[in-house]
Amino acid sequence: MFKALLEYEFLQNAFLAAMITSIVGGIVGVIIVEKKLVMMTGGIAHTSYGGVGLGYLLGFEPIIGAFMFSIMAALGIGVIKNKSTGSKDIIIAMFWSLGMALGILFIGLTPGYPPMVSSYLFGNILSVTRFDLILMSILAVIILTLIFVFYQDWKAHLFDQQFTQIMRKKTNVLEYVLLILLALTVVVLIRVVGIILVIALLSVPASASSYLTGKLHLRMVYSMIFSFVFILSGLVVSYYTDISTGAVIVFAAVILYLLTWLYSRRLLYKENLKGE
């Protein structure tokens, strides 16, 4: 496979995609887990399927459609949540199912053979194109810049939003920027893990790393490493078999999650013994 990596462009693309995805997913995942935005992210991801469908129907890049729809979903959910007293879960569920329904509708209306949507739903790292890669890199740069330049503000905002509001910071701005970050992250991840499995890659590495360290930035680092290992294992398995990358990644992730959980239990157990 190493020789192939040097030879084939699609493998190089896949490798670069794995790197970008794990950096972005690892860092944003920690934010999502700490701020309890897992379902919100799931909602945004699934809504983007409408955009994929629209892309096929009107003949433009489906990933651009996903980009538009996920931004709209993020802002839409944010605005409605702030304006109404309705439950957040229900608003998310509406977007989630409406997006999927639109996607199915648009794809049904697309003339000719039904397009291969499964790579968008379940991810296929081996089909990442140069165009995908360029888009992913641009988004990754935007996401990482926003996070690092305003790191202290994010930290305070994630820990206690009420307090940042009392300090008269523009918490609304932070909140909407955060939602847009989620939308961009979803777009970066879709080609690799697929719409349905996005939240797995965003939540599992981050929660697993929370068992290992109590420092925010270290959590981000661990979570990046975990993500990279998962995606790479997905890449290898997909290369030799026909199994979709997303599925392999999720299996690897869940296994590692259990292992870190057991490891942290063992540490606790040892400490208890010492205490006695």
Binding site: K155, F159, Q162, F163, I166, M167, T213, G214
Partner: protein
């Protein structure tokens, strides 16, 4: 002390069909030390959040030294009910307290200065947490956590300190410590304190308020305490039934 006057004028707050506060009037002046008591769900936290601008009242107006919150430069320190905060968040004591020195603007590449760190050190000393500066917050006891949150509120040099049940999850010794700390602070800062530990504060506060959707009793701590808690139970029930609205 800087001049301070916060006026709540006919404030009502509804959550859907629930009326948490109804036509509430209250004035807070500089130097006040007000205790607020009342039943669970009586609207105490709601009132405090309205003052802080976290909740918009559905009716009525709150003025701060005669103007709106936005235009005034009042600094308010807030110690929220402990259940409102994520105690497992990966952050150290020092970092939490430092956030009280955060700038109002969202600034790129913001870093806390040495001066900020010194100020934090001082405040941590005041609340007795100097040794725990570098601890992760998930390793703190309930009492230590509360003192940290009080420290965070103090670092912004507030004109008024609003505390929502700062002794809720705290053992009796730490309760005493926290209340005596607040008493000491009350010499320099205006204080509004919500608590269920009425006996422990009734000697300290200058004014006690019994709140149940509206101010039921207000004034001298002893009298309010007697009125709200010591009158025979049947009498208090009768009063509510006969009066319909609260007195």
């Amino acid at each position: 002390m800087r001049p301070l006057k916060i006026e709540l004028n006919e404030i009502s707050v509804n959550y859907g069909k629930i009326h948490a506060l109804k036509n509430l009037n209250l004035t807070i002046n500089e130097g006040d030390y007000i205790g607020i008591v009342g039943p669970n769900g009586g609207g105490k936290s709601t009132m405090m959040k309205s003052i802080l601008g976290l909740i918009k009242p559905s009716k009525g107006k709150i003025t701060y030294c005669g103007t709106s919150l936005k235009k005034s430069d009042i600094r308010m320190g807030y110690v929220p009910q402990i259940s409102d905060i994520n105690r497992m968040f990966p952050i150290t004591v020092e970092e939490v307290v430092l956030s009280g020195r955060m700038s109002k603007e969202i600034r790129p590449f913001f870093k806390y200065s040495e001066e900020d760190k010194k100020a934090v050190e001082e405040v941590l000393d005041t609340v007795g947490l100097k040794k725990l500066k570098n601890r992760q917050i998930n390793e703190l006891s309930g009492g230590e956590f509360q003192k940290m949150i009080i420290a965070r509120a103090l670092t912004l040099k507030p004109d008024i300190l609003l505390l929502d049940e700062p002794t809720a999850m705290v053992d009796v010794m730490s309760q005493r410590q926290i209340f005596s700390l607040i008493k000491k602070l009350s010499k320099d800062i205006t204080i509004v304190l919500i608590t269920h530990h009425v006996q422990m504060i009734s000697k300290n506060v200058k004014k006690l308020i019994y709140l149940d959707r509206n101010i039921i009793a207000e004034g001298d701590p002893n009298q309010v305490y007697q009125y709200a808690y010591l009158r025979p139970v049947h009498q208090s029930i009768k009063k509510r039934v006969v009066g319909g609205a609260h007195v």
